[in-house]
Subunit: 243 residues, 2 copies
């Protein structure tokens, strides 16, 4: 499985992804699910992928191919004028790849379902956050629901529902993403360290943070332990409230 979460806050966008993939429970590997592009001051783009790994890898490869060897007149992630066009380009790549492999996968009884989070900013435009579905269609995050999750999303949703709105400060949003990931890591073995983090501050049009958090990272472990202890203390208080 996979767990990726993206928050769109007034101060910026946070993307956090795990790196575990599995084809059956006995075939577990480590694959990067976060892909980034930037031309500082011009554009900053982050993609996170979930679902059929062959499909999402093919989509990302096609996007990269078009950047490196653009056919005449083809728009790429580096030439698209807006983030909306970036989402469309990702959706078009998804449609091409699904058209090529989807029928064969369906015939074999395999799932081709895939989803891609597209986040970023183009100079002169707003920060935007999209989710592209298997059919290439997409939705955009709004103030009502300022986050997207893909993959194994349920364990990590309660904390987001409780603390996140667009006015949440970036540092608080980061903590929420890490705790959302921590709950998922604890409850589902198919989601695993290391983690990839991308932070884009509004109107910086570049990455504020772009780094990997390795297995055994002391700061992440400290947060995870402190959260466990705090939840345990909170729970012990709750036992005094009989229903």
């Amino acid at each position: 499985m996979t767990y990726c979460v993206a928050l769109k806050l007034n101060e910026g966008i946070i993307c956090l992804s795990d790196t575990r993939t599995n084809a059956g429970i006995d075939s577990i590997s480590k694959y990067k699910k976060m892909f980034t592009w930037q031309a500082p001051g011009d554009r900053v783009i982050t993609l996170m992928t979930a679902g059929n790994l062959a499909i999402t890898q093919a989509v990302v490869s096609l996007l990269e191919e078009n950047i490196e060897h653009p056919e005449d007149g083809i728009e790429t992630l580096f030439t698209a004028p807006t983030m909306f066009r970036v989402a469309e380009i990702v959706g078009d790549a998804m449609r091409i790849v699904m058209g090529r492999y989807g029928p064969g996968l369906t015939a074999a009884g395999e799932s081709s379902a895939s989803s891609i989070v597209v986040a970023g900013q183009r100079a002169g435009g707003d920060m935007r956050l999209f989710m592209v579905y298997s059919a290439g269609n997409f939705i955009e995050a709004t103030a009502d629901t300022p986050y997207f999750q893909i993959g194994e999303h349920k364990y990590g949703k309660p904390i987001l529902d409780r603390v996140i709105d667009p006015s949440t400060p970036l540092q608080m949003g980061l903590t929420a993403c890490f705790l959302s990931m921590d709950s998922t890591l604890r409850s589902n073995l198919s989601v695993g360290m290391p983690l990839d983090l991308a932070v884009m501050r509004t109107d910086d049009v570049s990455f504020d943070q772009l780094r990997r958090i390795e297995e055994g990272d002391e700061n992440f472990a400290a947060l995870s332990d402190a959260w466990s202890a705090a939840l345990r203390r909170s729970f012990d208080e709750m036992v005094q409230i009989p229903v």
Copy 2:
């Protein structure tokens, strides 16, 4: 959907279920999913059901029919010598019902998947907790995993993973069940109040509690609010721990 949780603690067994069912998002109803039988001092039995409502209702009706109009020599929930036999009787009823309706449902492309939690104690035996699957086969809760969840289980699993082991006091277990249910109610509209609660203390061989918690119950609301506030406070502390 449905959410039911059962804990098997040294002090006793707790069963908590919601009452919402849906056939599609636009057809939502309220159905009891908890069924209880007791002959105080002789046996106490609780069933909780999830999955295809027609299947699980048919299983419970068949069990009831056999109690009210037993065929010659047929064992019923009230005559079974052990809780293991009770689980087998429930499994047998599941197999009969699935044999009757399963093929038709499959042909219609509908899911017949169902599961039933079986909990209780027979005089002279131990408290036991089983989960019966669609095929009538079943597993038993052990000290390693002293709880079962059926239905929409993911949102409410983290709290159980963090605080429950067999030595957890009954009152603390009750709080864990209520908070597990509260997280599920908040994150998934297909799980809803009122709740049904059954508590069976070890070796009482009768119900310690058997009651419904209605929508708007003041004590449940107080717990839910206190938990929200405590989580929020804990979260605010976590923001001081940078990763």
